[in-house]
Amino acid sequence: MRLSFNELRWLKRAALDSNRPLESLVQRRINREPLQYIIGTQPFGALDLRVRSPVLIPRPETEDWVIRLAEHLCSSYSSRPISLLDLGTGSGCIPLLLCHLCPNIVATGIDISPNAVQLANENATLCGVPHSRYKASLCDFAHPGFPKAEAINPPYDILTSNPPYITSDEYLQLSDDVANFEDPTALIGGYDGLEFYRLIARLIARDGFLSPEAVVALEVGHSQADAVCDMLNPTGFRTSIWMDPWGKKRTVIAQRR
């Protein structure tokens, strides 16, 4: 593979900062390991998050819609505390950046991966977000008893998620840097990639799970936005779609009618 000037420069800096030999970092990159895992961090908005295999690396598309969501939330809520639940929190990138940008958000993140829960809590500490404002817990939102789980405290004002949305077929086509290093459970959303949106649609339709004026923000795959809107509309939510900077329908925003 061909290393770009930029990647080489970033690796040089990482080698210098962490006192590791550059050759070994370059060798790891040649073995297709994601640059972010080698360096150990990924900037996300104003935050610098720790990343570690196999927890999903925050993507620029996610960064873009989270910043936009923060602007939306900051203008529509006043100063009262807002509660947020992030499903499949991964590195914690979504709730942590929202906490950073909106001082009145109090967030809970859940994930089925102990690696993710551990990393998300480390990131909260690194970003200076106290436990009272964000805490990640081990919890499975596909479990039937989920809404009664100890970590869950409805109603929530905001629900965010970047659930696994890659179809089983597409998963086999992914390049090595994604497939060999990132957790498949953070990527594969069943045969049609929509499995977790069905679960989320059922969840938000439950009485008392979300507050009356709740906002739901879900990242979706490049061709899934319309299908996800169709799932959410019957639950009494009005949906809109946000494009990402590369022209893909990336985020479904749902608010009660």
Binding site: S4, F5, N6, E7, R9, W10, P34, L35, Q36, Q42, P43, F44, G45, A46, L56, I57, R59, P60, E61, T62, E63, D64, I67, N162, P164, Y165, I166, E170, L174, S175, D177, V178, E182, A186, L187, E219, G221, H222, D244, P245, W246, K248, R250
Partner: protein, 339 residues
């Protein structure tokens, strides 16, 4: 708690400190001189000689205060005195040789900044395939960085035998330096340099499916300020957000630079000033390796120690001399307009 008025007053007080300092210096020196005068007629010849020596020294000091310290206080306080700088370096004629020299100049400005206790950060660095750097942007954070460096803007010329030249011929290559005033994000809004509807933002790469499907490491952005046609591309940072932030920082600096330039031109036009504004295509300095000489063509100053200049230390001699020249010119201009 300090109110905004208090802060204004504090600033005014701080800015008037040099006046008090100069006056104190003048009165104490004058007092010392007067004390010495009585000793000039001392009967002891040794004492008398000592006194006259001392008196001559004090006389010189008084003259310096009168001739340079006091006049320099008349120079209007620089409105850009607090600003940090953004230094753009662009290779000019000479191909790879120009890029190699650009790398040397970049190091010079980095070292010079460190020795002035400013914080330099390379924010863009476009390497040249054959060696050296094609173009670069350095952010230099610190009070006075812009005012000290702004007269570095212009064409810097290097004369030497390139390492790649087998015939031993001396080549002349150039690098263009542009020093811009760095405005912080919140100040940029206060200055209302642009509005968001004047901005076109483009992301450089198509990403296929994007999202979870791919892991692209680069997030280049390009912004265009439609009214002026200024475009800024940024790809050196690892996130889209950071690249965008940097791009807006460079855009603000360029717009601020235009604004300052325009204001100076308007002021000069009002006074019918004949002093021409600095022209960025003008050759301002030559670095001659064979003669170990660096010459600034605007003030005719040569420093016969090229190594000391490019190591960053002796650059101070140029910036000091240029500042003095600027102040003298400003004074002349002020006197002329009085007539």
């Amino acid at each position: 708690m300090a109110s905004p008025e208090d802060i204004d007053r504090l600033r005014q007080l701080k800015e008037s400190e040099p006046l008090q300092e100069a006056w104190d210096h003048w009165t104490s020196t004058l007092k010392a001189y007067e004390d010495m005068e009585t000793l000039l007629s001392d009967p002891d010849p040794a004492m008398k000689a000592l006194a006259s020596e001392e008196a001559a020294e004090l006389d010189q000091k008084l003259l310096t205060i009168l001739k340079s310290t006091f006049p320099s206080l008349l120079i209007p306080h620089s409105t850009t005195a607090n600003l940090s700088a953004l230094v753009e370096l662009k290779s000019g004629v000479g191909g790879t040789e120009s890029s190699l020299f650009l790398e040397t100049l970049l190091r010079m400005y980095m070292r010079f900044s460190q020795s002035n206790s400013w914080k330099p950060t390379v924010v863009a660095n476009n390497e040249n395939e054959g060696g050296g750097i094609k173009d670069a942007i350095v952010e230099i954070k610190g009070t006075g960085a812009y005012d000290t460096l702004r007269r570095e803007s212009g064409v810097h010329r290097v004369q030497r035998v390139p390492a790649t030249e087998s015939g031993g011929r001396v080549h002349t290559s150039t690098v263009t330096i542009i020093v811009l005033p760095l405005v912080e994000e919140q100040d940029a809004q206060k200055e209302s340099l642009y509005t968001m509807d004047e901005i076109k933002l483009e992301v450089m790469r198509a990403r296929g499916a994007g999202g979870q499907h791919v892991n692209k490491t680069e997030s280049a952005v390009r912004i265009t300020h439609i009214p002026t046609g200024i475009t800024v591309s940024m790809q050196d940072e690892r996130s889209q957000h950071q690249n965008k932030r940097r791009a807006f920082q460079v855009l603000s600096a360029r717009l601020m630079d235009r604004k300052i330039t325009r204001e100076i031109a308007e002021r000069r036009a009002k006074k019918n000033s004949l002093i021409k504004s600095a022209d960025r295509s003008e050759k301002i300095r030559t670095y001659n390796y064979a003669q170990e000489r660096v010459t600034d063509h605007r003030i005719g100053l040569s420093i016969m120690n090229l190594s000391a200049v490019i190591e960053g230390n002796a650059l101070q001699d140029f910036t000091d001399a240029l500042k003095q020249d600027f102040e003298e010119t400003t004074m002349e201009e002020m006197l002329e307009s009085e007539l």
